[in-house]
Amino acid sequence: MTRTTLAALALAAVLLPAAAVAHSGATGVVKERMALMKEMGDGMKRLSAMLHGEAPYDAAAVRKEAEAIAAHGGEAMLKGFPPGSLDHPTEALPVIWSEPERFRALAEEVTRHAEALAAAADHPDAGKAMAGHPHTPDMDAAMGNPSMHAMMGGAPSMHQMMGGDASAAPAPTAATPQAAFMQLTHTCGACHDTYRAKTH
């Protein structure tokens, strides 16, 4: 790559939103799935604003956004990843197709957690700041041994969040939409950790 091209790209990367740069040149199924992911991300951004007090909380809007994300998970998502679809500029990694069960389980978890979020939209504690991870009691609260087990890695929800055995996973125990949202964001991250290249 010439220095001029490199400089131009560097300038573009600074001036354009990261997504626009990442997606430019995409065609076919790669383009479609990047667009799907971008839509999901935009929805997550709007949800985050409402759930963390940066925008007024609107249960109907939360439900609508969550349902849209739920529709993008599962089969809709898997459709976007036919075997070998590794054309530039995809950030998908080949390991997707060597771990199909886990990839599927995570795609299905997106839908499950998004649906839980939609169902929790009217919770009375919606919009209030979360004290911490749903399975971590506040440090000052007196809790018994089960929380020690969870703290030291034994929480069933962690196993579930990683798609380790999604078929036997209990329903999300999240009560508030904030908790459901966190389980959803963690599912997104679980997939991105393993199946998306960190190239920028």
């Binding site: 990694l93 700041a129 440090m139 703290m151 890695g153 962690m158 963690h186 997104c188 997939c191 960190k198």
Partner: protein, 289 residues
């Protein structure tokens, strides 16, 4: 009693005395506080193969690096496969000095230089927490490193050249939150383990702290890009104290994109478990140069 038996008993008594003397150097441990420290230090994330449904702390998924493959070992209470036979002194030496009970050095893929910041109370608490972890077998495959990294004795040289266990900065003129954040980021949170670049031998320079690296876990075989998290870099991307603290809980960046490349795991298994005050402290430290 026969003389040889007497000698054995006497030696055993001496050894027990020595062990309890070592244990007496540490205060009583609080297991719940230790569990929180374990979350903060990232033990569960690395030493558990969650994706494969592995038992907690029974050994982590392989970490591919340019030095070869590291496999975080079993640190459950299993007597053979884990650390069930370890005294608190063994535990302290491993965590803070990166030395096994037999004195052999660990690879700094285990971020023990960052754990040198743990106090004796922290170690006592961590030890108590680890004593509650159910024994599980396995997780002893060991590393698969390329030459010359495979020569463990070379680590003595590496330690002489590169070991920097400087304590985290503490400044009474700064806020409590900043100081707490400094202790977390430069200490057990070991952010620099990924976010600071490594030289040829895997050493790090203080001047390059948190400027990012291309040795990250999230790039497939070529290594992934780890972003800079210096105050300047964060400000340039528009991060605020609130958005950064929230991101450490949700793993969601400001555009709504979820962190991957290994940071998702950090959020999921470590920072999401911290108190909101601790996440705010990390944000305060990172954003104030």
């Amino acid at each position: 009693m026969r003389r040889s038996a007497f000698a054995v008993v006497a030696l055993a008594a001496l050894a027990a005395g020595a062990a309890s003397a070592a244990a007496a150097e540490f205060p009583d441990g609080d297991a719940r506080r230790g569990a929180y420290l374990a979350r903060l230090a990232g033990c569960i994330g690395c030493h558990t193969d969650a994706a494969a449904g592995g038992a907690p702390l029974a050994g982590g998924a392989a970490i591919e690096t340019r030095f070869g493959t590291f496999r975080p070992p079993n640190i459950t209470q299993h007597a053979e496969d884990g650390i069930g036979g370890w005294s608190i002194a063994d535990f302290a030496q491993a965590v803070r000095q990166g030395l096994a009970p037999d004195g052999s050095p660990y690879y700094p893929a285990f971020p023990y230089p960052s754990y040198a910041a743990f106090s004796d109370q922290d170690i006592a608490d961590l030890y108590a927490a680890f004593r509650t972890v159910p024994a599980a077998a396995g997780g002893r495959q060991g590393n698969d490193l390329s030459f010359p990294w495979s020569v463990r004795q070379g680590l003595h040289l590496w330690r002489a050249l590169h070991l920097d266990a400087a304590p985290p900065p503490q400044d009474p003129a700064r806020s409590e939150a900043w100081n707490r954040g400094a202790w977390i980021v430069e200490g057990p949170g070991h952010c620099g383990a990924c976010h600071t670049p490594r030289g040829l031998l895997g050493g790090q320079d203080a001047e390059d702290a948190l400027t990012g690296s291309s040795d990250g876990p999230g790039g497939g075989p070529g290594g992934g890009k780890v972003p800079a998290i210096t105050a300047a870099a964060l400000a340039e991307k528009g991060w605020t104290a609130d958005s950064l603290a929230t991101a450490l809980q949700t793993g969601l960046g400001r555009s709504g994109d979820a962190f991957g490349g290994g940071m998702g795991e950090v959020v999921r298994h470590s920072t999401a478990w911290l108190t909101p005050a601790d996440r705010a402290a990390v944000a305060a430290y990172l954003l104030e140069p």
